[in-house]
């Protein structure tokens, strides 16, 4: 049935009507034919029975008076009943008495009469009927008639086929015409619905053609369309608003992006300007420092020459003054040297390499001991420390830090210096600890500024540039440097050489321990 399922309402209705008509016709025809055939059978049997009765009555005298000729004459009248193909009369003893046969029937007659009754034998109706007169059996009538039930069946089937075809054709025409009444409004709605969906035009309305259920459907459909129309408008308005907002937002984003780019440009520009300024400043200070050394060397050299060439001409005071001049000159030369170092540290390229920090520290300590063999300082350098750093700059850092420790422990009773490292989150934090003069933590942030000194130059020698240089180097390595200390008890300087070793501060206690 699936293959045959019609697609349109029209076809469905047509199919239904045709099917209904077909079923009704078939049932009606079958009933009619069945009825007619049963009537035919009954009528034929009763007709033939009557005929036999009549024949019996007519022939009774001939039979009574043994008159075959008359009997034949009587039977001969059957030629007016063409339906009867043959007939016979048997006498009371059951012997054939007289016969009749239609011209086309040459069949034999039954030898003996059968009991009363009618039966159908193939295409014949066979009937036997006793002839009774005054309660006596005179003989038997035998009738053989054409039984046309089967040919009637075929005739009827033919007629039924013709009637069916004609009726179906008429039904087809009628239903095509009639279903218009039913389907036209529905198809109109379907058409409108298709157009509405196809063109998204919700202002369309279906025309109401009838006041029946379809009419109600049309009303509901139109109401629905109106509702959809309203909602669509609302949705469109809301969409437009959203789109407007989106446009504005994207414009704002573009603006922000543009500002960012501008900002970055400006930052880059400023950075470049700053870098240029820095470089100019460094170049300036370098050249100034460099140029300042020559006259200083001349002053120192001529001062020395004066002392050496005229030892007896100069009074003691003059010699003392000259000595002071030379000390100041040398201090200034050292100052200039440190400034040049600072400048150099800031410029130049950074070359990272694996450096044996323990060994470097020992070398620095060795140099210091060589320089001042009179001092007895207990120095502990941890083994196995290494760092990824520029070897030269790391040497500068160690020289400064260990040098400071050496210097500030000069007045300690039992000077002690320790160089070690703390492992913190896989990053090494190195430290240099001493038990020297120490410092006041209130000034901890000023330790690393150039020319910042917490002790007077007379107390401890120095230019005040060393820690600034160290900080500069550590920063260039991406590390950090900080210090802890207490006046008179010593100081610890921590530094890292890799980026973001922020947690080191928390490990100070461990360092002290």
């Amino acid at each position: 049935m699936k293959l045959l399922s019609p697609r349109s309402l029209r076809q469905k209705l047509l199919g239904m009507m045709l099917l209904t008509t077909l079923v009704a016709l078939v049932v009606a025809l079958a009933a009619m034919i069945g009825y007619d055939l049963s009537v035919y059978h009954r009528v034929l049997v009763s007709d033939m029975t009557t005929q036999a009765e009549l024949l019996g009555r007519t022939i009774a005298p001939a039979l009574s008076f043994d008159d075959v000729r008359v009997a034949r004459e009587n039977l001969g009248l059957l030629r007016f009943r063409p339906l009867v193909s043959s007939a016979a009369i048997y006498n009371a003893r059951g012997a054939l008495f007289a016969t009749y046969a239609r011209a086309d029937d040459r069949r034999a007659f039954p030898k003996l009469p059968e009991p009363d009754g009618a039966r159908v034998d193939d295409r014949d109706l066979i009937l036997f009927k006793r002839i009774v007169n005054d309660g006596e059996i005179l003989g038997t009538v035998f009738l053989r008639a054409d039984y046309e039930l089967f040919s009637r069946v075929f005739d009827y089937l033919g007629i039924a086929a013709v009637v069916l075809i004609a009726a179906m054709l008429v039904a087809l025409l009628m239903s095509s015409w009639m279903q218009n009444i039913v389907t036209r409004p529905i198809l109109a709605i379907a058409q409108i619905a298709r157009e509405v969906v196809g063109q998204r035009d919700y202002s369309r309305r279906a025309a109401k053609m009838s006041a029946d259920e379809v009419g109600t459907l049309v009303d509901s459909f139109n109401d629905m369309l109106a509702e959809i129309d309203r909602r669509t408008r609302e949705l469109e308005a809301s969409n437009a608003k959203l789109a407007q907002e989106a446009v504005e937002r994207s414009r704002a984003e573009r603006e922000v992006l543009r500002l960012n780019v501008e900002l970055e440009d400006r930052v880059r520009e400023r950075t470049a300007q700053l870098e240029t300024a820095m470089r100019e400043l460094e170049t300036f200070s370098y050249s100034v420092s460099h140029d300042l050394r020559a006259p200083l060397r001349a002053i120192d050299g001529f001062g020395q020459a004066l002392v050496e060439d005229f030892p007896e001409h100069l009074p003691a005071d003059a010699k003392r003054y000259l000595s002071r001049i030379r000390t100041s000159t040398q201090h200034m030369a050292q100052l200039i040297e440190d400034l040049l170092n600072l400048a150099r540290v800031s410029r130049g390229t950074l070359e990272r390499r694996t450096v044996d920090l323990s060994q470097s520290a020992r070398q620095v300590v060795g140099e210091l001991q060589q320089h001042e063999p009179g001092r007895a300082v207990e120095v502990a350098v941890w083994e196995g420390m290494s760092a990824e750093a520029d070897p030269h700059l790391l040497r500068v850092v160690l020289e400064n830090l260990i040098g400071n420790a050496w210097k500030f422990t000069s007045k300690a009773a039992k000077p002690h210096i320790e160089i070690g490292a703390l492992k913190d989150h896989g990053r090494a934090t190195f430290f240099v600890r001493d038990n020297g003069a120490g410092f006041d933590m209130a000034y901890a942030d000023k330790l690393f500024g150039a020319f910042q000194r917490l002790h007077s130059a007379s107390e401890y020698a120095g230019t005040g540039i060393g820690l600034a240089t160290v900080q500069r180097i550590v920063q260039r390595h991406g590390g950090r440097i900080w210090a802890e200390g207490e006046l008179g008890k010593g100081a610890v300087f921590f530094f890292t050489l890799t980026l973001a070793a922020e947690k080191a501060a928390g490990s100070v206690e461990q360092a002290h321990g």
Partner: protein
């Protein structure tokens, strides 16, 4: 069993044949006629002829309508009188026993010439001489009485039915009584099987 009490002189074979026929088909008179026509022996032929005639005589009653006045009561018998044919009378008596005509019992009465014919419904007159025949028929004339003869001049003399033997078969001619003459009506069906029907001139 009844058959064994038949008059002597009959051949056993005949009796048996009769018996067989009677047994087979309860009441067949025609059989007698049928058998008779084929009987070869002369004596037998004579007997058969009377048997057939007796049967016919009985059957005629079914095709005749008597006026009501000829019967005393509703169940009065039909009386058949026989003159000059004892063999036939015997045969007839046998045939009618236990039978009826038009719902009435049948009575056979043997008459001597000169006996009154009143109260009869059928009268068979055997082979008597012409004078007697005419006399009897004249007496019967005007009565509701079916007269049957077996003489050539029977009808001429006023008989209504006259037996003839044609080709060894018993047939009969009919001369229906003039209408309303004596209120006796002979059925047309009987006329249908008659050899010939003679119109009564008078």
């Amino acid at each position: 069993m009844e058959l064994l009490s038949k008059p002597p002189g009959w051949k056993v074979a005949d009796v048996e044949r009769w018996a067989t026929a009677r047994l087979l088909l309860a009441c067949a008179f025609v059989v007698a006629a049928g058998l008779a026509s084929h009987r070869p022996a002369q004596a037998d032929a004579q007997a058969d002829e009377y048997r057939v005639k007796a049967a016919f005589l009985y059957k005629f009653g079914g095709y005749v309508e008597w006026p009501d006045r000829s019967f005393a009561r509703a169940d009065s018998p039909v009386v058949i009188g026989v003159i000059g044919a004892d063999t036939l009378a015997d045969e007839l008596a046998q045939i009618v026993s236990g039978r009826s005509v038009n719902g009435r019992p049948v009575l056979v009465r043997r008459l001597r010439p000169g006996d009154p014919i009143a109260g009869l419904h059928v009268l068979f007159i055997g082979r008597v001489d012409r004078g007697r025949l005419a006399e009897i028929l004249a007496a019967a004339k005007g009565q509701p009485l079916l007269t049957v003869t077996e003489s050539e001049e029977g009808l001429e003399l006023g008989s209504m039915i006259n037996f003839v033997v044609v080709e060894n078969k018993v047939r009969f001619d009919v001369a229906p009584p003039s209408s309303e003459a004596d209120n006796l009506k002979i059925s047309a069906r009987l006329l249908g099987v008659a050899r010939k029907v003679v119109a009564r001139s008078s």
